[in-house]
Amino acid sequence: MDMLVGYVNYLVFFSIQAGIFAVLCLGLNVQWGYTGLFNIGIAGFYAVGAYTSALVSGLPPAATDLRVVGGLNLPFGVGLVAAMVVSGIVAFIISIPVLRLKEDYLAIATIGIAEVIRMVLQNEAWLSNGVWGIKQIPAPLADTIRPAVEAFLGRHPDFSGWLNRLISNGYNWFYLSLVVLVLVAIYWLLNRLMESPWGRVLKAIREDEVVASFAGKDVFWFKMQSMVVGSMLMGAAGALYAHFATFINANTFEPMFGTFLIWVMLIVGGSGSNRGAIVGAFAVWMIWSGSDFISGFVNLQGYQSAALRILLVAVLLEVMLLYKPQGLMGERRRRVPVLPAPEPAETD
């Protein structure tokens, strides 16, 4: 029973992480899956979200801190919204010069902006506290929930060991429900959006930009909206991460975790499908976490097992691209009924 509780508690922890990755993956799906926009600077938008939220709803700088800003100590919800807004603004600025160009330029520009963001976070200690990072980011409602759990357990000293351990993990249960709530809300909203005329324009742009512009759509503007919406979701994921980990520094958002893994998740799940994005996030995170257990059985140096895991994920990506490019969930392509008469052009 004790072991089972251990597994359940781990499963909760795992699902929180996978859920945060799923939010990132949904953001990428808006950009790549629906619009064909190539963002490989996900780590940058993720980091901007995390730092914004940590500064807005975190504590003021401690005496030993180098940073001089932040610490408004506002509620988590405000931090989350601020994270989304700032990530969206960064996406807007970087998109101006490159969205009119071929898709590869966006890829190069986003990797560049992610690098610039990383550099700023590393070097501008007044803002980010440098390599020491931001500590003690408040976990939302922890002041209420943790004492409540303690009090509850205090009133029930008869609870056996395993039940006690299950309940004392109460805060993670709460955080999981928070992540799931955000995830479900985003999922529902995106599905609605993608079925709307707006979403159909994005798909039209993905399939053929020229045709979309002939249909009177402002391709640049729609791409911009898609880029900003996707990056806002990445910012939200950053906020969710920061308040769960309660500590962040520039190395938390390396391109391996912030960008490459998300791409593999979306390709595995099936780009163009929101369900696929979520399934891919959980599946790949399971493979990633699972391979950590395996490395315990093989006699390798730490860096070697780390390298093996990355290689595993890279091979997984290539195999998917070669043999199942539509992913596990592939986009369902609906047949469009043939209409008796041509519709008048929409004016949006």
Binding site: I40, L101, I108, N123, Q301, E318, L321
Partner: protein, 302 residues
């Protein structure tokens, strides 16, 4: 002030030479295969480590080789460099056969994603074998000498001469040989090239071979210049290479050369006015400005 600027320009020329060499390879593959190869930086890393592998092998066989003149290394290093270029080209061709060729019909975006996968995969293999710790070709510090008022190491002169020689060789190849002309034709218009009877698959093969060889040479040069190599050297320089290639005009080898030198020199000169940590930002800003003003680059035609 002027003296300091002159010194920085010389340093800029050295990193510019390395950028130019790697940029040419990237630009060639971009021009002919029509996708941004994000694994190009890691091909450089691979080249650098292949040279290390051969060099260690030669030393194990007892060939240490006396340093050549004022240089810090001898014949074994040069042999290793050539061997690394060949080995890296073999890896590039194998990757093309098993991965890029089957994916070629699926569009440039899929090729781009798969190259990101290759980048992380290659780096993982290198890290698995050699660890993330710095590795050294030669553990000897070279003293720089005063030449025409600037301080420069003989090894750095070697880097400049070797890159000039490789660029010249490439120029002759592209303008004088049948394959070189076929490559330029394919870069211009693949369909038209195919119709005129050019074997485009062979052109693609040669593109990978040349791109990988130049990348490997550039990787070794980074090792000689920095004195050490890590699995990250190529990935860290990739954004500069893209900046150089975009500045010069994607697909234009001569543009990549000019772009490399401009990015290298401006990066070094920028340290006179902004903190050194932000040197990469200069390359990025130049790239963005170029995209705003003339997205086809300095030498781009389209």
């Amino acid at each position: 002030m002027v003296h300091e600027a002159l010194q920085l320009i010389v340093f800029g020329l050295i990193s510019g030479a390395i950028l130019a060499l790697s940029g040419i390879g990237l630009s060639l593959t971009y021009g002919i295969l029509k996708f941004a190869n994000f694994a190009h930086g890691d091909m450089m890393t691979l080249g650098a480590f292949m040279a290390l592998m051969v060099l260690s092998g030669l030393r194990a066989m007892g060939w240490h080789g006396a340093p050549l003149g004022p240089l810090s290394f001898g014949w074994p290093m040069l042999v290793s460099t050539v061997a690394a270029m060949v080995l890296t080209a073999v890896v590039a061709v194998v990757l093309d056969r098993i991965l890029y060729r089957p994916l070629r019909t699926m569009g440039s975006a899929i090729l781009l994603i798969s190259s990101v996968g290759v980048a992380f995969g290659l780096r993982a293999v290198i890290q698995f074998i050699w660890s993330p710790q710095p590795q050294y070709y030669i553990r000897k510090i070279q003293i720089s000498r005063e030449m025409l008022g600037v301080r420069v190491k003989p090894d750095q002169i070697f880097i400049l001469v070797l890159s000039a020689a490789l660029v010249l060789a490439l120029h002759l190849f592209l303008t004088r040989t049948r394959m070189g002309k076929a490559m330029r034709a394919t870069a211009d218009n693949m369909e038209l090239a195919r119709v005129t009877g050019i074997d485009t698959e062979r052109v693609i093969l040669w593109t990978w071979v040349i791109g990988a060889m130049l990348a490997a040479a550039a990787g070794v040069m980074i090792g000689i210049e920095n004195k050490f190599i890590t699995p990250l050297i190529g990935w860290e320089i990739l954004i500069y290479i893209f900046a150089a290639v975009i500045l010069g005009g994607i697909g234009s080898p001569y543009g990549a050369m000019a772009g490399g030198v401009i990015i290298g020199v401006s990066g070094e000169l920028s340290t006179m006015v902004i903190p050194t940590e932000y040197k990469p930002v200069v390359a990025f800003v130049i790239m963005i400005l170029m995209l705003l003003v003339k997205p086809t680059g300095l030498f781009g035609e389209r």
